[in-house]
């Protein structure tokens, strides 16, 4: 019912988030309707009319117990149902050989690929500005850093969000199930350029990704075609592939 509000989900764990979202939506929706119908009924039935006398009662212990225990049970069940998805998304790290480093700064995402040697901090690293290219159906590990203030890595369609905290390296992962171009905003206020701090994540088929990587991540790669939209505040593009 709310599907048309949520953006399309294209990640593996997004399904679990959406399922929980809908579950809570229905539980709270039913509660909302019950409470409001009861309240409106009472307001109409027990409105002040001549001759009406209010019932003199101080409460009912059985009712108190019922409406303590029932919500408590529902909430405990919701907690338990939230555990598997949370531990899968944030507490486990699936094995993968695809690792990128994202260093946020005011007001860009700097995406570093390890290059052919597979190691970060070496000569052949490649850094792109505000764009990331990944293959579809592949676990992508992100090492998230920030060089100034707190930013937040948010990709609505991946149902992924994680703050980038200066002084920390936070490991995250996602796996996308559908090729495409996805908007990648910053979700934590990071200064006057916060709005418009936005990158694009290109999810390619394995073939396309191989082609892109060969053209861009090898040692003498040229700048990738300017396929991304123009971010507002991006200072200099300097050919995208710095260093």
């Amino acid at each position: 019912m709310l599907d048309w509000w949520l953006p399309e989900n294209v990640s593996t764990y997004g399904r679990e988030i959406d399922w929980l979202f809908h579950l809570i939506y229905y539980i709270t929706g039913v509660t909302f309707i019950l409470v409001f119908v009861t309240m409106l009924a009472f307001l109409v039935m027990y409105r002040d009319r001549p001759g009406r006398k209010a019932r003199y009662t101080h409460g009912n212990t059985t009712l108190e117990i019922v409406w303590t225990v029932v919500p408590a049970l529902i909430l405990v069940i919701l907690t338990l149902l939230s555990v598997p998805a949370w531990s899968k998304i944030k507490m486990t790290m699936p094995d993968t050989d695809f690792v990128v480093q994202v260093t946020a700064k005011q007001f860009n995402w700097q995406v570093t690929y390890p290059g052919p040697d597979g190691k970060f901090g070496t000569e052949d690293d490649k850094t792109l500005l505000d764009e990331m290219h990944v293959p579809v159906n592949k676990v992508v590990r992100v090492i998230l850093k920030s060089q100034d203030v707190i930013h937040s890595f948010f990709v609505p369609q991946f149902r992924m969000k994680q703050d980038a905290v200066p002084g920390r390296e936070i490991r995250q992962w996602f796996e996308v199930t559908k090729p495409g171009k996805y908007e990648w905003p910053c979700a934590e206020l990071c200064g006057f350029g916060h709005s418009g701090m936005r990158g694009w994540i290109y999810v390619h088929t394995p073939d396309e990704y191989g082609k892109w990587a060969a053209e861009n991540l090898t040692t003498a790669a040229a700048a990738p075609a300017a396929a991304n939209a123009k971010p507002e505040e991006t200072p200099t593009k300097e050919g995208k592939a710095k260093k």
């Binding site: 101080h58 994680q162 002084g167 990071c190 709005s195």
Partner: protein, 584 residues
């Protein structure tokens, strides 16, 4: 105010006290009722400012980068168009003002001061001088906060949460003195609120009238008692936090700056350790107010008095161990996140208990739809929506997606506007006759309530929708994002509703000032209520009652009791058969 205070003077003389001068009566007054009025006026004035800032924010979100009407003369360089830094300042100051200088002064400051002594049968606060000091310190904090608008670089622009290191290093926001002033002001405000809370706690523990046992106290007093305890324990954490932040900014310390070995998350821990109890500081008095007003206009006892009191105590304890739910995706250990989910889900239970007990109070009642009652009912229903939307955030996986979106903005406004502000309106309409000795105008009250209720919902409910659509909070221009463009019409809709919500407050302003000077004089007990404040004259004189304070014989909600021929039985009416026996 002058009219009401003139009457107060007459009573002061009557009670055998010498007349105080103008300054001691109106400005540096130690009378809890005058201090309450001072807090109320301060809060209402700041509400106008906070509301206008909100409308500026809304204008930008609906029609980005167009001139805001009326701002042309202030923002001369841009002709009234908001720049991103001005926009950040606007929403930062909107939240800061509304939370610290509107809701806290009105609910805890004004109604805490007014209700506590009058409803427990005390002649004044335990420490009247400290009480006066508390107001003037808070007032100075307000002035300091306002001065920030006039310094070079503008006011604080790092959000009301002022996350470090954005807030800790001036060059990150371009704001220098604005943020310093923000820190100094909140530090001062924290000191003022500490003075108030010590006073409230001492007064409630020590100065109750004969027979006023703890479990005969009105629920609003219970709520203010618990609020005061939370204030006493939570505000020092904020005051320390802002002091550390100020030191980072000005003295070169590195509490929160990683470059010097500091830890940005420390700020968040300190801030939310204060910040979550703070949410309950904002909502508990409103819960108390609703619990007070509902029985009066239902003409029946509150349903589950003890459950109501104990659920507030439960909230007070739990509020200390839920704060981590603000930090699920902050980089805090995910294992901790799970622990905070458990506590957060549990704290929903006392809120559910309260809601069901309010419904139980309506059951079998004889409901009188007066203006305070309508506002109290709005509080209950809007709080239900705010409570239910909170469950989405409590679930960590769902929170990954909705954290930092408009869903959160919708949630907090259902709680603090739908909850606290409707609670404040209910309290103002309910106690106005006692506070100022005059009745408010009922027609204007309806003209205020109904549009406010409608446009409140039209403003904030659609924020759930755009939040689920992914719109981030605190962005300057939603149309910069492709995935948000299809819902921009909602932003326009919300802004129209917000403007109308603003216009809906005009009847309130007219009603307030008109009633203050020309309202019908209020009788002793206009609502036929049971609690002690209605036994004092309207408005109560200095020291509240004549030679003796009332004696309490029963709980506060004996409406439609078989013991009484009328449908109410005041707390201070001696039981049948004992009439007069214990009068002196």
């Amino acid at each position: 105010m002058s009219a009401s205070s003139a009457t107060a003077h007459a009573h002061v003389e009557h009670a055998g006290h010498h007349e105080l001068g103008f300054v001691r009566t109106y400005i540096f007054s130690t009378d809890h009722k005058m201090i309450a009025r001072q807090f109320l006026f301060m809060g209402l004035f700041m509400m106008v400012l906070g509301g206008l800032l909100a409308l500026i924010v809304r204008w930008q979100l609906a029609w980005p980068e167009t001139a805001v009407p009326g701002l042309g003369s202030i923002l001369k360089e841009t002709g009234g168009i908001l720049e991103p830094s001005t926009y950040n300042m606007a929403f930062t100051m909107h939240a800061t003002i509304m939370i610290f200088f509107v809701i806290m002064p009105i609910l805890a400051g004004a109604f805490g001061n007014f209700c506590i002594p009058l409803m427990i049968g005390a002649r004044d606060m335990a420490f009247p001088f400290l009480n006066m000091l508390s107001f003037w310190v808070t007032f100075s904090a307000g002035l300091i906060m306002l001065s920030g608008f006039f310094v070079e670089g503008g006011h604080a622009a790092a959000g009301w949460t002022s996350y470090a290191p954005l807030s800790a290093v001036p060059s990150y926001t371009g704001v220098n003195w604005g943020q310093n002033i923000w820190c100094i002001s909140l530090f001062t405000m924290g000191v003022g609120s500490m003075m108030g809370s010590i006073n409230y706690i001492t007064t409630i523990i020590n100065m109750r009238a004969p027979g006023m046992r703890l479990f005969r106290m009105p629920l609003v007093v219970w709520s203010l008692f618990i609020t005061a305890i939370l204030l006493l324990l939570a505000l020092p954490v904020l005051t320390s936090g802002v002091a550390m932040l100020l030191f980072d900014r000005t003295l070169g310390t590195s509490w929160f700056k990683p470059a010097g070995g500091g830890e940005p998350l420390l700020w968040q821990h300190l801030f939310w350790y204060f910040g979550h109890p703070e949410v309950y500081i904002l909502i508990l008095p409103a819960m108390g107010i609703a619990s007070e007003i509902l029985p009066v206009f239902c003409r029946k006892p509150i349903f589950g008095y003890h459950a109501m009191a104990f659920s507030m105590i439960g909230i007070a304890f739990l509020s200390w161990i839920v704060y981590g739910h603000h930090m699920f995706v902050s980089g805090m250990s995910p294992a901790l996140g799970m622990a905070f989910t458990v506590t957060t889900m549990i704290i929903a239970v006392p809120s559910a208990i309260k809601t069901f007990n309010w419904l139980g109070t309506l059951w079998g009642a004889r409901i009188q739809f007066t203006v305070p009652m309508l506002n109290a009912l709005a509080f209950v229903s809007m709080f239900v929506i705010g409570g239910l939307s909170g469950i989405f955030m409590a679930s960590t996986p769902v929170d990954i997606y909705i954290q930092d979106t408009y869903f959160i903005v919708a949630h907090i406004h259902y709680v603090v506007f739908g909850g606290s502000i409707f609670g404040a309106f209910a309290a103002i309409y309910y106690w106005f006759p006692k506070m100022f000795g005059r009745m408010t105008n009922t027609a204007l009250g309806h003209l205020h309530f109904w549009p406010t209720f409608v446009f409140f919902n039209l403003t904030f409910f659609p924020m759930h929708i755009i939040g689920v659509g992914g719109q981030m909070r605190r962005i300057y221009n939603p149309t910069q994002y492709e995935f948000l463009q299809h819902q921009q019409h909602w932003n326009v809709f919300i802004t129209y509703s917000a403007l109308l919500l603003g216009v809906s407050q005009i009847p309130f302003v007219i009603n307030f000032f008109w009633s203050l000077f020309a309202g019908k004089p209020a009788p002793l007990n206009p609502w036929n209520a049971n609690t002690l404040e209605w036994t004092a004259p309207s408005p109560p004189p200095h020291l509240n009652w004549g030679p003796t304070v009332p004696t309490v014989y029963r709980g506060p909600y004996e409406y439609s009791s078989p013991e009484s021929r009328e449908d109410f039985l005041p707390q201070s009416t001696p039981p049948v058969g004992a009439a007069g026996a214990r009068r002196h």
